[in-house]
């Protein structure tokens, strides 16, 4: 069991965020796209949750649903998003606005486009404070400098006056993190925060993000297709396939003992640079592609690509069922759940 999979806060605390039966559908000309279709999970205070899946799996839409930023033709059709005693799915725009940026912040995939090109980064950092606090202009400036310093921007006093185009991609993402974290949100949603960056910078930024959330006790939902990154950071992992959760549980448990063939496939496609015998191993891949989400096959959506699929899989939806997590911990959060008719039982 890796250190990161240990639940840092207590098991019994009430969750900060509790998503139940969330359905976010898009009503398009081509039919209804069920981007998120009955997703439930909890995030405890201070927890880091990895939300993993291939592109088009509905990961980002979960983040946007929580933020209340789903635009037509999309809509949260059903389910609840409990956050701090309120159901975000039922809040009005004004109430949502006061939560966004203050209690829940979000980081986007591409730092090259997330910052407004016409304003200095100082202006954009201070905007968050201006919106959610009563700080004076000077205090805001001081806080912005302090925050830029924290995210590792050298000479923040001068850099404050610079425009986004004067920063590299990695530096911009640091600025974005600073903007997201400056109001000390209780939950940070990071949507593929390192995908658009150089590999060398990815690890740096993930470390920075982890450090930032740990320092302020913020919970983090890390949305990514990079299971390797998640396995190093997350306490819990939720694996999505075609808008549904296929596996959910403690990070270490999922990496060590995946039950769902899809999770297994994802893990096997992580490159291992250090095979003990130094032999070059062929990377395995999951055969086929993510199906068109508008025309999902009956039964398990993964069945067409699954080596273990049976006739049952093609007819009946598997239900997400919780089983005792093998090994550490107790209580509801330690459960390892899988939606599979033929889950893997033994793993190497």
């Amino acid at each position: 069991m890796t250190e990161s999979s240990m639940p840092r806060p207590g098991n019994v605390t009430t969750p900060l965020l509790s998503v139940k039966g969330l359905r976010t559908w898009f009503h398009t000309f081509g039919g209804i796209v069920k981007a998120v279709d009955g997703v439930s999970f909890d995030v405890a205070p201070g927890e880091i949750m990895g939300l993993v899946g291939e592109s088009g799996g509905g990961k980002s839409m979960i983040g946007f649903s929580i933020m209340g930023l789903i635009d037509p033709p999309g809509r949260v059709e059903a389910g609840s998003i409990e956050f701090g005693g309120r159901d975000l799915a039922r809040l009005g725009e004004d109430e949502m606005r006061s939560i966004r940026g203050k209690e829940i912040a979000m980081i986007f995939q591409d730092p090259m486009t997330a910052l407004n090109p016409l304003y200095t980064i100082g202006n954009q950092i201070e905007e968050t404070l201006a919106l959610h606090t009563t700080l004076s202009a000077r205090e805001r400036r001081e806080k912005a400098i302090e925050m830029l310093h924290k995210v590792g921007i050298p000479q923040p006093e001068q850099r404050l006056h610079h425009y986004p185009h004067q920063f590299s991609g990695g530096m911009r993402q640091r600025v974005v993190i600073a903007i997201a974290m400056i109001a000390r949100p209780r939950l940070l949603i990071a949507d593929e925060p390192t995908t658009a960056l150089d590999v060398t910078i990815q690890a740096q930024l993930l470390r920075l993000m982890r450090q930032q959330v740990e320092e302020s006790g913020t919970s983090l939902i890390l949305i990514t297709h990079d299971l390797a990154a998640v396995s190093q950071m997350a306490d819990t992992i939720v694996v999505l396939y075609c808008g549904r959760i296929v596996e959910r549980g403690p990070a270490g448990d999922i990496i060590a003992r995946p039950r769902h063939p899809y999770t297994r496939g994802l893990i096997d496609s992580i490159p291992h640079e250090t095979d003990i015998d130094g032999a070059k191993r062929r990377l395995s891949q999951i055969p086929g592609n993510v199906p068109d989400i508008r025309k999902l096959p009956p039964g398990c959506a993964f069945a067409p690509r699954c080596p273990r699929a049976s006739g049952l899989c093609r007819m009946q939806d598997p239900v997400l069922s919780e089983r005792e997590g093998t090994g550490d911990g107790q209580g509801p959060r330690r459960l390892h759940a899988t939606a599979c008719h033929h889950p893997l039982t033994v793993s190497p």
């Binding site: 912040a105 997330a114 910052l115 016409l118 200095t120």
Partner: protein
Amino acid sequence: MFGYMIKRLIQMVVVLWAVSVLVFVMMSFTGDPTFMMVPLDATDEQIAQARRILGLDESHLVQYWRFLSNMAQGDFGRSFVFRQPALTLILERLPATLEIVFLAMALALLVAIPLGVYAGANPGKPASRAVMAGSLVGISLPGFWLGMVLIFIVAVKLQWLPSSGRGPTTEWFGLRVSFTSWEGFRHLILPAITLSIGTLAILMRIIRAEMVEVMKQDYIKFARAKGATAKGILFKHGLKNALIPLVTVFGLMLGDLIAFATLTETIFAWPGIGKLLVDSIYRGDRPVIVVYLMFVALMFVVVNFVVDVAYALIDPRIKIK
């Protein structure tokens, strides 16, 4: 910046020279103005004398040379009709034109920006479709027709506003203007509305199209994720980005309105430079036409320069070099 100014200045001189050639050649082929100056029963001798006085008896090349060298010395020629320096004539009437043009542009911006932003931010809504349909009407309406309809309804039937002329003017920093008095301002309203409609419609469509694009950008979504207000998202983050392409069009339209407010000025008997141009063309007052066209060319060069500076002011990524 200094090098940029020099470059612009050289460019200006080249443009003006090219226009001077074009204008001079065109004028030389539009008939002999002498016959418009002399009495119908003038003798051949009188005609020849008139030609000599006007300097038309020499070859085109010599005429052009004299035209250029005079201009270089600040002499832009005298009006055949008014016996006054052509430049003075134009400058005297310029304030009248600027007045209705600026009012028209202000009106256009005041209406086009909110409507364009609204329609761009809510593309599917019925109200924004109505706005777009309205803008099509605005583009399609010919100015002279609109002017006459306005005169008929507002001035003749309702008798709310005067139908023509400039009304009382006051001296203001050495310029004769009418917006300073209520009666003068009343005279401004109808011509300004007539002039603004087409511009308003086009500006609005451009703002809408730009806003539709801008609102899809990540930084808008990021601003929303920060908790920015709807107003902040539309105007701080949205509109400023949408303005960049608008500035070019705005500059060109401003130049266009100043140079060619001709129709509107004619309908409302507005004593601006547009009306002067039309009158001068009727009278074959060649020096005035020439100076007018040179003036317009100069103005467009200046407007372009201002547009470039405005770009650099709005967008930090653009550096003036």
